[in-house]
Symmetry: C2
């Protein structure tokens, strides 16, 4: 039977990449593909303690509908968390969402008509490009270097698309490129955007996961620097600092924007899970989140260092990558003529997987790169997996 699907539906990204990724769940495979914490790392003991000490009225509230904007105690706790980062919580409003992806979805819903232009980094978080495509946006990717988005390229893009509505950025331990924006580049970017109409969506899901304290100040969000000009919507999430299964994130933006986001969320899922909001609120307000994050910084750094050592040891000299300073990812660049899909097809047979480069290309083309996540692979498996991938690459060179 033929169905008459909507234009939006027909514009949704094909599932080729997701089909490839299904193999990543085979139990015997070493996976560097998912951008997620390792299962053994979740704070289950802390949450057990929290759950078993919830007052009955709070627990009951967790079973009930909540306000669309979020569970009020959690809104207050997240505001306190953001105040510590220097974010302008007093002049802005905060909405709790079902993760940063939903924040991206509702911002797109309230601003984008089919054909409107969104500027992204190239490469760009695959989840975000998927959302943008579902709203039939015109996507334009802007190259980044090790310090961030390249301003000259951004300028050229804005000349080509002067009515571009949203600039989507992931400046802190970029997914997939792993880079951390430099202080100078952030300043240059903010100066460039001053008095321009484009709205920046600053996606900061990994900024708490710096490996060295010296990098902490580089993780200060741009929204703290000049929160009003340009207009910045700041998005973050519990997915990497508590657990993605909670499906909770937040969006901080001007009150006029959050009012519209509230309407958009109202017609998306009414509210996020109150049950997990109650738990996340205790985790954050009791300070348990901060000690957990401390432990995770050490853990992820250890995994990243292990992966770096293995790359140094096994990869041929033609292969390049950026040393991670936090977050979950290493972005690997192969010589131009190597197609990462071909590499993946081979490594999959031999027991290791990653995400191919074109998944992160808004044009779904450039494919001589790939993303390695070290976040959910125990250190003892990392060595074997990298060796498999390096061996295949050497064969294909």
């Amino acid at each position: 039977m033929e169905f008459n699907f909507s234009d939006s539906c027909l514009n949704m990204r094909s599932s080729e990449i997701r089909n490839l990724m299904k193999y990543a769940t085979r139990p015997d495979i070493i996976s560097f593909s998912g951008g997620m914490p390792g299962n053994s790392l979740f704070p289950t003991e802390e949450i057990d303690e929290i759950y078993n000490n919830l007052p009955i009225d709070v627990k009951r509230a967790g079973f009930q509908y909540g306000a669309t904007i979020g569970y009020q105690p959690l809104i207050e706790s997240v505001k306190n968390h953001l105040r510590r980062k220097g974010l302008p919580v007093e002049d802005n409003e905060l909405i709790i969402t079902a993760g940063s992806l939903q924040s991206i979805n509702i911002i797109t819903k309230i601003f984008i008509n089919p054909g409107d232009t969104i500027l992204t980094e190239y490469p760009c978080f695959i989840g975000a490009t998927g959302v943008f495509q579902s709203f039939i946006a015109n996507l334009h990717g802007i190259p980044i270097d090790k310090d961030g988005i390249i301003i000259a390229e951004l300028d050229e893009a804005l000349k080509k698309f002067p009515k571009a509505k949203i600039l989507y950025l992931t400046p802190y331990f970029h997914n997939p490129a792993g880079i951390l924006y430099s202080k100078e580049r952030k300043k240059e970017l903010l100066d460039y955007l001053k008095n321009k109409e484009i709205i920046m969506l600053e996606d900061d899901c990994y900024g708490d996961l710096y490996f060295d304290d010296a990098d902490k100040e580089l993780c200060v969000p741009m929204k703290t620097i000049d929160p009003e000009n340009p207009v910045i919507c700041y998005s973050s999430s519990f997915s990497k600092i508590l657990g993605p299964g909670m499906r909770l994130g937040w969006l901080l933006a001007r009150p006029e924007i959050i009012a519209k986001c509230e309407l958009a969320k109202q017609s998306t899922d009414a509210c996020s899970s109150t049950f997990t909001q109650v738990i996340a609120n205790e985790f954050l307000s009791q300070g348990k989140m901060y000690s957990y994050i401390e432990r995770m910084r050490v853990e992820y750094k250890n995994r990243a260092v292990t992966m770096m050592k293995c790359l140094d040891e096994f990869m041929p000299p033609e292969v390049k990558w950026v040393k991670p300073r936090g977050g979950f990812y290493i972005w690997v660049e192969l010589p131009e003529h190597i197609d990462s899909t071909e590499v993946l097809k081979e490594t999959m047979k031999e027991g290791a997987v990653f995400v191919i480069g074109k998944a992160f290309d808004p044009y779904d083309k450039k494919n001589n790169c790939f993303r390695l996540a070290y976040s959910h692979t125990p250190p003892e498996q990392i060595r074997k997996g990298i060796e498999i991938i390096a061996t295949v690459i050497k064969r294909l060179l």
Copy 2:
């Protein structure tokens, strides 16, 4: 500052009604407004037992991302639940959503272009019309009587809008009208729709909450009767039989449709909360849900009977309503010249609230009706609240 919002955003329903509803949260007010279970009715003891007996690997899975389509054990449990109802789970696919509202959202996303027509019942669930408006659908409401949608009116609507894409129905303890479709009307409807292109979205969130076993067979979903012609997408939820705070529902439909829903959900929130899916799965698969539903049938019947008695006692003869046989609601009809907003403004001052009629009108106009929910008001408060409302109505007659 002026923002350049999208057409979708500008078409979202104004918050006038929701602003009115905000008063409903004043602690001293007797509220018949929210369509939700009472806080004291949630199965907290059962869930405590479930949580504290989760194997560690299952608990950890609850913290992690899950497949967009849902947590596999929960999919299987829900399929078993639907098999018991006679639903065609083998020839269809099932997706777990963040509640029935999200099922409505993703069905709309994959089928509706701006301007496409959706037929609803009049009155219609306010959440659904909010979703449809956010996709800039052309809404057309079709009157119902005590047995269901009026087929002659449906026929007229389909002649006027022959390309209407979706027919949205809530046949079992209708929200807000409280009615239960008769067997004859369901048959007549299915016969009428045979070989027509319009897709039925059958929303069944209250069908397990019949008051008398004699009505059980009337709650058999239309999708069980002829699941292929017309095409029926069947939606239901844990919100009324476990807790809305879980944010979990499901959609059963043809595989080609669910494949698109999966893509749409992927770009909405990636997946529903795995944490609450793990809990809901145990609640359902251990059979705890069925004993809980048994208890709730008695409880809600008791509240409904109490409210009926009070209506009989206090309301003037000009006021009419349909006796509920299940679910959460009584739909009250005032004489044509009485505006339920005027009634609400007065009762609010005196300490009782409900939802005005035009909230359920796709055209946002007809307002001589209102909805009373008895589901979350303890029986001892029902009497006082109904007396307040009746007194105001008598004054305005």
